[in-house]
Amino acid sequence: MNPILVIAETRRGELREVTAGSIAAGNELKQASGERLIVAVVASDPDRFAPELRYEGIDEIVTVPTAYEHFEPHVAEAALESLIGELRPSVVILSHGADSLGYAAAVAARGGHGFGSDVTRVAWDGGPIVWREVYGGKLEAKLDFLGKETTIVLVRIGAFPPAAATDDTGAVRELATDLPAPRTEHLGFVEPKTDGVDITTADFLLSIGRGVGEQANVAWLEHLAERLGATISASRPVIDAGWIERSRGVGQSGKTVTPSIYLALGISGAGQHLAGIRGAGTIIAVNTDPTAPIFSIADYGVVADLFAVAAALERLTVEAPCEA
């Protein structure tokens, strides 16, 4: 018996939503393999999260108390090593997020485990099989982990719809283990700046990406957004370049947005960007590259130069002159 182990994630005293996606991926593997599904919580006060883990499919909750309030990669690494040693899971599932990225690969490398990150689909064929995108989403790789007793899988945030809620919680037990001292010191959190604009409440977003090419083109597109009654937002490369203020950034590291209309101009659709727009009503994407991953999530797609389309939008929204 080698269970499926899901690591629940917490931050600032709260269970993170990404946990429900990891549990959903765990449930797919549980059903395909017939193994049990165990969810582990590693935190300074893990018992308090157990009642919140009311998701279908959980057979058992294992709590690992730590002496340290915040996530710390070296403490998390040792806790995961203990969990793997104790539970001998066939698969360990975490989210492909900033915390997991600080320790999961270290555990895999040290333990000689199987490892796959940014995973979008899972299956079972005598052992886990996963799919993940490579080359900016232009190809998808199918991975197996033959010969590995344990495989650590980081699932892309948003790729698995959250597990269904239930009234029951699984049985809870504590795994007491000696954990090392932290090797990084938490100095504080820095809240994101808002700059007065909240793109998360906008009903119509005109969002621009790397395809805008240079800063000189941004003002014109801002003007177009204004003319269309849209709020301007941007993908990470535009934010990194400093062409648009950071508070207007969309994606995993920026904002998760839920407009009725998301008009994406020159955005190819990296996984971390798509994670931020899954809640949008209608997505219209304009990109010169017909293989851009954004077309896999968009409702409408246009393979064209964004400037040609933007110029046409501008012409069509010029106020008609009075009829004489």
Partner: protein
Amino acid sequence: MKIAVAVKQVGAFDDAPDLMPDAALVPSTSLRRTVNEWDLFALEAALELRDEHGAEVVAITVGDEEADEALRTCLAKGADRGVRVWADQMEPDPLTVARLLAEVLRGESPDLIFCGAQSSDAMHASTGTALAGLLDLSRVAVIKRLCYDVEANAVQADRELESGLVERVSVAAPALLTLQTGGNQPRHANLRAIKQAERQPLEVLGLGDIGLQADDLERAAGAHVRRLAPPDRSGRAEMIEGGPDEVAQKILEIVSSRLAP
């Protein structure tokens, strides 16, 4: 002080990939090669630290001869040395790459190791953290900015969490940091430096030079790629055809039908 920067010569497709059915490897001839964007931010962070405090900056890569180009780019921008390690028939797997880097870096004993937070082609975002695990190094992953405290010999780093939240942490050297894009402005090399870098010898290592055998790499691999194929785009977008004016007209119709009056 010595700072090692791990860099990767990545590949990108300009057009739709043209692969044999059941291919598990991309033919390198179909790729445009460049230095991984994230690694240029990692290199810049190292060079800025060197400019302020003095340090030797060593660029290290795992790759075939084509990866020499990445090292020369780093040298032209100001790295002091370039080291390349390569094994034929290795899996392009983050744990395997980390194992090779670990053996090279054991001999270098840097105070700090900087890595890009991810590569644009393999997109694992895991090589740096795997390397830190193998070297049992303190590490901070996915950071945006850092500053170095000489007296404490420690780095203060801003970790980039989800939704724009940042955690500020401090870590004592020796340590490994993986860097996100956007935290600095990677410098350009001048023509003279580019020419000098072309003549500078690179250190090229094989498996035997770092005390490894092919079996070690086979065991180190975290996964095997069984198949590469264009993703299934069924359920993809309804494509709007036509010239710019037709397309724009249709977009405006969709917008007005979806927005509440």
